[in-house]
């Protein structure tokens, strides 16, 4: 691995990091704008043309607010909570393949930070670490509402991670690999996994909603019952980190869903496009397709948020344990039979 490789990797990491932060930033804007459109309103339109500078204004506000650490809170853990939340949100993007490799003269630039052969397990590890940020923050605040929110977040994430893992197992039986790069390549053209695993995708997207604490599973932060949930006591940029982590998580889980089930950077007719546009523009078009899919998923997240009311806590647990897990197991069995007898 020469100097050029290291520079290329470094630049790629910086770009992906910057992109995920910018997308998270503008997700807040998109969320408010989309919410407004769904409710026949206009949305934020004062900061800059069409309110395009609204995220900057929000960020500036967050930075300038007074920072409050409650007297009886545990100071170290109180700060560790949001740091952990944003850290785990950011490192998830390392294994996602954003496109095919670009060939520029003698340099080969892979559009993926690292292609480890246990990519999916890595994602799962990062996702399950994510709940620690919420739990530690909620516990360290020394506040009933925060604690309740944290407990809800922990139990919800654990319950839904099981069915998420089971839905992935069926997918892995079809693909036969854990590497996200290989999974993406197998879906060349229009052979997207969602065509072979529709039930698995349905389970996965439901679990993704629960893992990112989005409506209808946003019980950890439901305002009507728990004031603010696990971040009740947080103010200033530490609150900003929690909110930001949620949006980055949404972006990463959209990217994972696009890669695993919706073909990642593949699209019908990609060979023709690749042959006609060359080895630089062609892969970049694939990357654009990938981002288009990601944005569609983010839009879907927001669309669902403004449609479905929140689940009650016992309904949430019922759905997770009594419906999703049996369904996921049934899906594994049907997939196994299909692989054995038909394929």
């Amino acid at each position: 691995m020469g100097v050029a490789d290291i520079v290329i990797k470094f630049v790629l990491i910086v770009i992906i990091f910057a992109i995920s932060l910018v997308i998270a930033m503008y997700s807040t804007y998109a969320e408010r704008k989309i919410a407004a459109f769904f409710q026949d309103r206009v949305g934020p339109n004062r900061a800059g043309p069409w309110g395009i500078l609204q995220p900057l204004a929000d960020g500036g506000k967050m930075f300038l607010k007074e920072e409050i650490i409650p007297t009886n809170a545990s100071p170290f853990l109180f700060i560790a909570g949001p740091s952990l939340a944003i850290l785990t949100a950011c490192i998830g993007s390392a294994v996602i393949p954003w496109g095919q490799q670009i060939i520029m003269g003698k340099y080969v630039i892979p559009l993926q930070v690292t292609d480890i052969n246990v990519g999916i397990l890595y994602i799962f590890g990062v996702v399950s670490l994510g709940v620690y940020g919420v739990m530690i923050g909620g516990w360290a605040s020394n506040n009933k509402y925060s604690l309740l929110g944290a407990i809800r977040a922990a139990s919800q994430n654990i319950s839904y991670e099981i069915s998420m893992g089971l839905s992935i197992i069926a997918l892995l039986m079809v693909t036969g690999t854990l590497s996200l790069k290989e999974i993406a390549e197998q879906q060349h053209g229009w052979h997207w996994n969602v065509l072979y695993q529709p039930v698995g995708f349905l389970l996965f997207i439901i679990c993704a909603f629960a893992e990112t604490n989005r409506t209808p599973f946003d019980l950890p932060e439901c305002e009507t019952e728990l004031v603010g949930g696990y971040h009740t006591e947080y103010s200033s940029m530490k609150l900003g980190f929690y909110l930001f982590a949620e949006y980055i998580n949404m972006f990463i889980s959209s990217a994972v869903m696009a890669t695993l089930y919706w073909g990642g950077y593949n699209y019908p007719g990609m060979d023709w496009v690749l042959a006609h546009t060359g080895p630089v523009i062609g892969p970049l078009i694939g990357t654009a397709v990938m981002f288009a899919k990601v944005f569609l998923f983010i839009f879907f997240f927001m669309w669902v948020r403004w449609t479905i009311p929140r689940f009650r806590y016992d309904q949430l647990m019922d759905l997770g344990w009594k419906i999703l897990i049996p369904l996921a197991i049934a899906n594994i069995i049907v997939t196994g039979l299909w692989i054995t007898f038909i394929k």
């Binding site: 407004a36 459109f37 769904f38 026949d40 309103r41 339109n45 669309w303 669902v304």
Partner: protein, 165 residues
């Protein structure tokens, strides 16, 4: 008991069937409904830039009118103050001096004319009581302010702008 109004509806509570328990069809329906709203034109009026039109019979801020020669019509008879159910109007009358004929139409005029906009209920009775057609509630709505005393509008705010010279 027999219903007198014909409005009573019998409600049966049936157990949900499989499709209803599966949530998903209902969720799809809901998504379709919200998507319809997504493309609907917003009803918002961005206030400072656009203003909603007042209706024809809207009663807003009062204005004291001038006649066709630019003289103030009000003769300080006090009928408006008398008719006011909220007792929002006060005035002090004065006699017109020599050389002020171009300012006031009648020999008596209101030197001070004050309406307390916090008391006023915009009923329009002053308008009806006025024998000189001097007061009309034809302005915009009264703007907000910080102090109570600033809601007592004097002649400076009430009298119509003079005809252009």
């Amino acid at each position: 008991m027999e219903s007198l109004t014909n409005k009573r509806k019998l409600i049966e509570s049936k157990p949900l069937n499989f499709l209803e328990r599966a949530y998903l069809p209902a969720i799809a329906q809901g998504l379709a409904i919200t998507m319809k709203h997504f493309f609907r034109k917003p009803v918002t009026i961005s206030y400072p830039e656009e203003k909603r039109e007042y209706s024809e019979n809207f009663r807003g801020m009062h204005s004291l009118k001038r006649d066709e020669n630019g003289k103030e019509r009000c003769t300080a008879c006090g009928l408006c103050a008398l008719s006011c159910p909220a007792e929002a109007i006060t005035m002090i009358a004065a006699e017109r001096q020599k050389g002020e004929e171009h300012l006031y139409r009648e020999e008596k005029y209101a030197a001070v004319y004050e309406i307390n906009m916090l008391r006023c209920i915009f009923c329009g009775l002053c308008e009806e009581a006025c024998p000189k057609e001097a007061i009309y509630l034809d302005g915009p709505h009264v703007p907000s302010d910080y102090l109570r005393k600033d809601f007592i509008y004097g002649k400076d705010k009430l009298v119509e702008a003079p005809l252009n010279q």
